[in-house]
Amino acid sequence: MDEIEYASATGAFSYLWLLIALPALGALFLLLAGRRADKWGHWVGVATVASSFGLGLWMFFSLRGLTDKTAYQELFQFLSVGDLTIDAALLFDPLSAVFVLLITGVGSLIHLYAVGYMEHDEGRRRFFGYFNLFVAAMLLLVLGGNYFMMFVGWEGVGLASYLLISFWQMKPSAATAGKKAFLTNRVADVGFVLALFTMIGAVGSVDFDAVFNAGIDGQLTSGVTLALGLLLLLAAVGKSGQFPLQTWLPDAMEGPTPVSALIHAATMVTAGVYLIARSHIIFELNSTVQTTVVAIGAITLLFGCIVGCAQDDIKRILAWSTVSQIGYMFLAVGLGGAALALGIIHLLAHGFFKAGLFLGAGSVMHGMNDQTDIRRFGGLWKKMPWTYATFAAGWIAIIGMWPFSGFFTKDPIILAAFAREGWQGWVFGGSALLGAAITAFYMTRLFVLTFHGPKRWTDPDHHPHESPPVMVVPLVFLALGSVGAGFLLAAGVPEWLSPVFGETTLAYGHLGHTEVMILTLSAVVLGAALAWWLFRSGGEKVQQPARTAIVRAARSSLYGDRANELVLETPGRFLTNASVWIDNRGVDGIVNSLAATIGGSSRRLLRLQTGYVRSYALSILFGAVLVVAALLVVFVG
């Protein structure tokens, strides 16, 4: 590999900082403006993100004109300690460019939608403030010119996600979910921080080019690359809700639906994929780490699918499908080489259709008085035609049916998984294929139960209605993306990303392109047809008794929470109690008994202070006698 070198930013790119500054200022304004801005503040939020999108487009086209396809802007020196200097720097290259467009583009649509969705919420201004803060932090994450700047954005999105998940703090479940997300993410962030320290220790720098070039030149030992890879993977796993840190993501659905769409589908949870894609050089240096990434991707995608089949809450199903789709992306970026770009295009396409699905779910909830149980829907296709049509586009896209976007992005990933050498190709390719079939099954179940079959509303007087235009318009745009984006992305993006990732042609392994395509399509059709046949008449109205162990396990999210409780919480609590006991009895015991000894002896000595001259004289005499006796012992004895 050639050494990596970043060209410094000139021309359009000297305004790179403005991309982040606009939503950041928006957040600052909205959070400080107070009640005065309640009536119109949300439009400020929409405007800042939209103008960032415009700016991003301008820079995207400017980048196309450059020969070396990078723009590195150094803003100021962040800190300087000894030999280590960390700059506040931004990097705009093909990879961050596509992310910037995704974040600001999909972000603008979701902001627009949120104007309608949050119309009756008292905290709408605060909501948009947090939303803008999130966009700013996410842009900092993808634009950060070194790992440290990326980490600042990484923590920023964690904070914004916490604030937004627990936005309705008066609901205990929302407050708990926010806390859970925050804590789980902190566990992962430990990985990121340790990775930063490892870089500083091994390379003496956290700059992308310095770390990567050290890897390319072979200066990093395999132990360092292993540690670095695993630590970065830990960080990515937490942020992206992958196995074994997946439990926070479904609970995060307590936040308002636009949050689920923006943060937990389109952007933040894909940050883990971005991190691995950005650090692909480190991962490619060590095949153990790569295999670990692939394995985590494969485990997670099946995990998410299986749990998704057993959930009844519309947003939770979508959340589990996010977990599973990001598993596909992990699988792809773990495979490395040409598959890296496949992971990114699936991420982009997923941003469109999953955001569309979430917003569609929000629209359904809007029309159904915040009902989220899919067993209580049914027959909505006549009442909400726009939501129905756009949701259908997202549904066909996510299950990977030709000619919608998921087909063009998921299919090559399955192909690439089969291309891995030896038994791994069969295992990983097989899981990806099985995952596609199960995805088709549970997404069809969700779709059919929500929009088709007989009405199963609890309140017969309730009349579902279509959402206002401000919510429908973003849905339409996202649906168009779900229809067309996949083909366009698959055609253009791998080529566009080649300056970052290198090669673009896929190697074929166990199975050829046509075979995989036929297999995948038939698996998808099979899964979807089965679900349609099972649930077309409405399916279960109340929860059926779980007959098999796998259903029981899936209903309780494959015991993810219980595993956490058993492996982490219980020993943690025991450790805490033990520490408290040792602290009380041991440390405090020593200190307190020392104090008590001194206090007690002072009280005893106090009795000697009688104030009688004669008793003092007696003690002086005693002292004198003692001195004389001692002298006698020394000199005579």
Binding site: L606, Q609, T610, G611, Y612, V613, R614, A617, L618, L621
Partner: protein, 99 residues
């Protein structure tokens, strides 16, 4: 001349003085007993001066007398002050320093 007799006399005087300080309540008597102890000390100093054939001890004895005289002046003043405020010269009445 055996200096031992003088030293024994000095020791006896010192003990009488010490016991007096310890057992008597009247401040004046206590003072006199302190003087007795000082004089016992002076006697030993003079005895050793004679024994060693130098005048150092004699000089020291003079110093002790001067200091004792000065101390008695201060001490008697304190005793007078206490007597004025408490109408008593007993050392046990003046126990305000106890805590």
């Amino acid at each position: 001349m055996n200096p031992e007799y003088y030293l024994i006399l000095a020791a006896a005087l010192f003990c009488i003085g010490a016991v007096g300080v310890l057992v008597r309540r009247n401040a004046i008597v206590v003072f006199m007993c302190v003087e007795l102890m000082l004089n016992a000390g002076n006697l030993t100093l003079v005895t050793f001066a004679r024994t060693n054939g130098s005048v150092d001890g004699q000089v020291m004895a003079f110093f002790v007398m001067v200091v004792a005289a000065a101390e008695v002046v201060v001490g008697l003043a304190i005793v007078m002050a206490i007597y004025r405020s408490r109408r008593s010269a007993s050392v046990d009445d003046a126990n305000l320093l106890k805590c």
